[in-house]
């Protein structure tokens, strides 16, 4: 793999991760949002594979397989089941309307770009140059957490943050140690399962997944 091809592929993979985050912000249908998350998992794995091939190392490729299994397949499948098991399958009335959210996410991306320049400047390489994308995905994840009403989108926002952190970790250190990655993946799966139980409880209690109704629990 030539150096330019490596850089381009890395950029494309990282870019796809970012675009998936924007798709999450853009779409209203929960199914579409979860699918975007699945694609993001695959893109993340692709980044790991590119890194692995470039470094002639096996470990990133193993991590990629793990990422595909957990973030690309298992977690989205669980989420899809929650979405399909009833309730409104649309984020119909987000706290911030969609065009404004999109512009806000773009601004967050700029913030990420501008603030990580120092980090990139320490050791400029194709991999470190894509680090801002990881941070942007983290910020967008937070943004989704703060601006969406449905429990599913909350989970998705949380997963976006996780994916962003994973991307930064791949790019900055050429991959987390396998054990750490394994632990994180299992953690994640567990968290999603817990959330699924929570969502089921919410639905039996309130008949929906609208988080605004949790305000009733206050007193």
């Amino acid at each position: 793999m030539t150096e330019t091809a490596y850089a381009q592929l890395l950029d494309l993979g990282a870019g796809l991760v970012l675009v998936c985050a924007f798709v999450v912000v853009w779409r209203r249908g929960l199914v579409a949002i979860v699918r975007a998350l699945a694609v993001q998992g695959f893109a993340l794995a692709a980044v790991a594979v590119v890194l692995g091939v470039h470094q002639h190392a096996l470990e990133p490729v193993v991590v990629a397989a793990l990422v595909v299994a957990v973030k690309g397949v298992a977690v989205p499948r669980v989420l899809l089941r929650v979405v399909r098991s009833g309730g409104e399958a649309r984020e119909s009335d987000p706290l911030i309307n969609i065009p404004t959210s999109l512009v806000g996410a773009a601004v967050l991306t700029l913030v990420a770009y501008a603030t990580t320049r120092g980090v990139v400047a320490v050791s400029p390489s194709p991999a470190t140059r894509a680090i801002p994308i990881g941070l942007a995905v983290v910020l967008i994840g937070f943004f989704v957490l703060a601006s969406r009403r449905k429990a599913i989108t909350q989970v998705v926002g949380f997963l976006l943050i996780d994916n962003g952190i994973a991307l930064v970790a791949f790019l900055a250190t050429a991959g987390l140690p396998l054990v750490v990655e394994l632990g994180a993946a299992l953690d994640l799966l567990l968290a999603v399962l817990v959330l699924q139980v929570l969502a089921a409880r919410m639905r039996t209690k309130f008949g929906g997944l609208d988080l605004d109704q949790l305000q009733e629990l206050r007193d």
């Binding site: 381009q8 494309l12 990282a14 999109l102 996410a105 770009y113």
Partner: protein, 313 residues
């Protein structure tokens, strides 16, 4: 062959080919819907017949109504002469860059909207209002996509962009180029009034955008408007094809190369037409007030393309 001849040929080929492209899209859609569909050359039959019909001018209208089809046609025709479709050596190579192309196309949109407002009918005003709404929101995306494309070439001149891509083919697969392509494709749908923004085959006035503006045009005037909108689609398809996949375009004005360039263009545009038809079969029209979300998304793509070209390279 001189540059002027190349430009003239480009216009002739676009005028002749644009209705065929429209016919192709219709045919492919019909086949996918399980119909036989009209022949591919049907739009030309329609145009020929319209040219022989009576000219009707609604009462109360002014020169604006009469001039609008001419302006729409001339602006898109001029774009056809400027843009390097068959050869990078077009007669107006230095006359206009991508910004000029964008504003020339906006000139057509504006006149069509004025032509829709002139008769004073409710639907004409509605169509004009919607068309200008979408045009205003699509403008930032178009110009940012232009910006993203002009960064690697260091110039917004079309020939320079095409030449830069030819010289560095790998650039097509960079992140910024892919994002710009996606943004430009979405904007093409909006600017040409295709699904999911506008349904070109609707008969329901309340859902119309483009069609509502031209409800009052008849005969030869209608022929011009229809031809111009077909050419608009062809121009956008040609731009997409040559800005992102310029291979096959002539870099000289030798007749053989130019003819090959034409053939390559026709092939690429036909592929895009088929892709458009397939896409249209699978999507539904968006509600008018959901369209800004789509345009905001394409704007963000274009914006990411621009920033990526500065932060990632």
């Amino acid at each position: 062959m001189s540059r002027a001849v190349v430009g003239f040929l480009q216009v002739v080929v676009l005028v002749a080919g644009a209705p065929i492209l429209a016919g192709l899209v219709r045919k492919v859609r019909a086949r996918l819907e399980g119909r036989a569909g009209p022949p591919i050359a049907q739009p030309w039959r329609d145009l020929r017949k319209l040219l022989g019909k009576e000219r009707i001018v609604p009462e109360h209208t002014s020169w604006v109504f009469a001039v609008a089809p001419l302006v729409v046609m001339c602006s898109v025709g001029l774009v056809a002469a400027i843009v390097p479709f068959a050869s990078t050596r077009t007669p107006f190579g230095s006359a206009g860059d991508l910004f000029a192309v964008v504003y020339l196309l906006l000139l057509g949109t504006v006149f069509l909207a004025l032509g829709g407002l002139d008769p004073g009918t409710a639907f004409g005003g509605m169509g004009a209002s919607r068309e200008m709404t979408l045009a205003a929101l699509a403008e930032p995306t178009v110009l940012l996509a232009v910006f993203a494309l002009s960064v690697p070439a260091g110039s917004s001149n079309l020939s320079a962009i095409v030449a830069a891509t030819l010289a560095h083919p790998a650039r097509v697969a960079t992140l910024q180029s892919v994002l710009a392509l996606a943004a430009f494709a979405v904007v093409t749908l909006a600017e040409c009034g295709r699904l999911p923004v506008d349904n070109p085959s609707t008969h329901l006035e309340l859902t119309m955008i483009h069609e509502a503006m031209v409800l009052e045009y008849a005969g030869p005037d209608l022929a011009l408007v229809e031809l111009a909108s077909a050419m608009r689609l062809a121009v956008f398809a040609g731009l997409l094809a040559n800005l992102f996949f310029p291979w096959g375009i002539a870099t000289t004005t030798s007749p053989l190369e130019v003819v090959l360039g034409m053939a390559a263009l026709a092939g690429k545009v036909a592929c895009l037409g088929v892709a458009l038809a397939v896409f249209e079969v699978f999507v539904a029209k968006l509600r008018l007030f959901r369209v800004p979300e789509l345009l905001a998304a394409s704007f963000v793509l274009a914006f990411l393309a621009v920033t990526a070209s500065f932060f990632l390279t």
